[in-house]
Symmetry: C2
Subunit: 308 residues, 2 copies
């Protein structure tokens, strides 16, 4: 029996209306085209390219060192679990990088952030189809115990201010800048997207984007001025420019116990955009959650192959 890798219909959700695939090579059936990554446009320098490695090494060795934030982010770099989960994946990555305790279970006995943990506060089925907006990203961030600063890229927001925020955050291990921008300005396919900034190269005035759509693009360096422009493009779904959020560790957040689900699902244009947060990550619950019990390892079963 042949291994069914390329003929199993479960692997081909977009072909679910097609005739049985038992003898049809998946990649060419019905002229359906699929992708293994995309080429980065020339505006972007791939992290692993010779030029990308040079930029990284220079930035790490720079006396000002705007690569402090790289280390916690690199530890938690993830691939978004669904093609439209860039916002949720970026948030999960940043919350783990800031060592926030979700105060609720992920899998087994572990408390950990992944996209599905945000089900409590948003509709994952809607997010899976449409992604989330900058406002929703903010709600979720505050709801899960981080302090936020946020900026829309309106006329009042200057390139110099943007650079100052990036420099300040990248020189710490406790503040992360997340950009909400249009890929179009970078010459990439697609449009609205979220990425955290993993570092700053002062001499070249470039930022390292740790793009969670890793099935498409690797992490890459981009000119700060281009990222500024990419936030200014108006988001047609909101009729507003996009912008950025700074996430900071610390649980000094007021738990107002609002009904977040209702807030998240209402029309973005009428919702209170930067309302108070909610959910159960109050300072005391987060502090409680951070205790680390000194339990013995689970009893070992002889037929287990791994006890991770």
């Amino acid at each position: 029996m042949e291994c069914p890798c390329r003929t199993n219909r479960q692997d081909a959700p977009l072909l679910s209306q097609s005739p049985p695939l038992a003898t049809v090579p998946l990649l060419v059936a019905n002229n359906f085209e699929s992708f293994h990554r995309r080429h980065l446009p020339q505006t972007c320098v791939s992290f692993s390219s010779p030029e990308g490695r040079k930029l990284f090494t220079e930035a790490i060795n720079c006396p000002q060192n705007y690569m402090h934030i790289y280390f916690p982010l690199a530890e938690q770099f993830i691939t978004q679990a669904e093609p439209a989960y860039c916002g949720l994946a970026t948030l999960a990555m940043c919350l783990n990088a800031l060592q926030i305790d979700p105060g609720r279970l992920w899998k087994g006995p572990w408390r950990w952030f992944s996209e599905e943990l945000f089900e409590c506060c948003t509709s994952l089925s809607v997010a899976k189809e449409k992604g989330i907006s900058l406002s929703e990203f903010l709600y979720l961030a505050r709801c899960n115990g981080v302090i936020t600063e946020d900026y829309r890229a309106t006329k009042d927001f200057t390139l110099e201010h943007f650079r100052d925020i990036v420099k300040r955050s990248c020189a710490t291990s406790s503040e992360i800048v997340v950009l909400n921008y249009s890929r179009k300005v970078l010459g990439q396919t697609g449009d609205g997207h979220f990425s955290p900034i993993g570092g700053y190269h002062a001499q070249e005035d470039m930022v390292l984007l740790m793009d969670v759509a890793r099935f498409k693009y690797p992490p890459h360096w981009v000119k700060l001025s281009r990222m500024f422009e990419s936030m200014q493009l108006v988001d047609p779904a909101m009729n507003l420019p996009r912008g950025l959020v700074v996430l900071k560790e610390g649980a000094e957040v007021t738990c107002t116990k609002n009904n977040v689900r209702q807030l998240m699902q209402c029309n973005d244009n009428t919702a209170p955009i930067f309302s108070q947060p909610c959910c159960s990550s109050s300072p005391s619950s987060v502090t409680d959650g951070r205790r680390m019990p000194n339990l013995a390892a689970p009893a070992k079963l002889k037929n287990w192959r791994c006890i991770c």
Copy 2:
């Protein structure tokens, strides 16, 4: 209505037999204890600690530079999707780092490796419960288009040989060393585990373990000699020491079209341990899969918030 983060039974699989949790804080119900990370033992230096950053910077700046492999691995660092998926997650991470095209769909139009893509060749329900063995890891690696070298840490395998393999691989961007070892020797909780080596610090004779159980431990530096010892400990499920696999890019693999599923599920002690690979990643299919069609971006829908 209060946000149900900590009282929703869907978030508490281990408490499924408990009484309704509507008013019971999740973390203390039935004395069930959960974890947010574990403390690294003193044998290990955390990647983000001051000492870890110093080791990293020294290794990056070292003239011999055994950190070449760090860049592609850092691009694809992931968290295992289930508590026993260390082998599958490590393999998916390495295959993506080596830019292997799976030749089959992941999600949407994207061809990409994640743990669930190995369903074709193994039982994920068994792997979820028990993990996979070193032999199974090898089958899966070959089946998916990489060349492998493998070593059991028997008496014939020396520390010097191990160091030579690590140095050679870490100085390339096209070879990855994956260790199968016992956590016990490192003073960590748990036992059998898989981790790729993300770099080597020659002066300190230490390796960087990019441990995919990131909900438990961050990436960390460990003495090479200790990792050697940790592979020598006999795996009681196999009655053999553990060992290592070197994964190399290149699709020069003989597709024998065996029934892998049958091979994978038989008793490890009687299975042909390093038999020929199978599956459909033949050289031509992988080459075909690597073509990158220059399709236009999908039609933009006005109400999409992200088009990643």
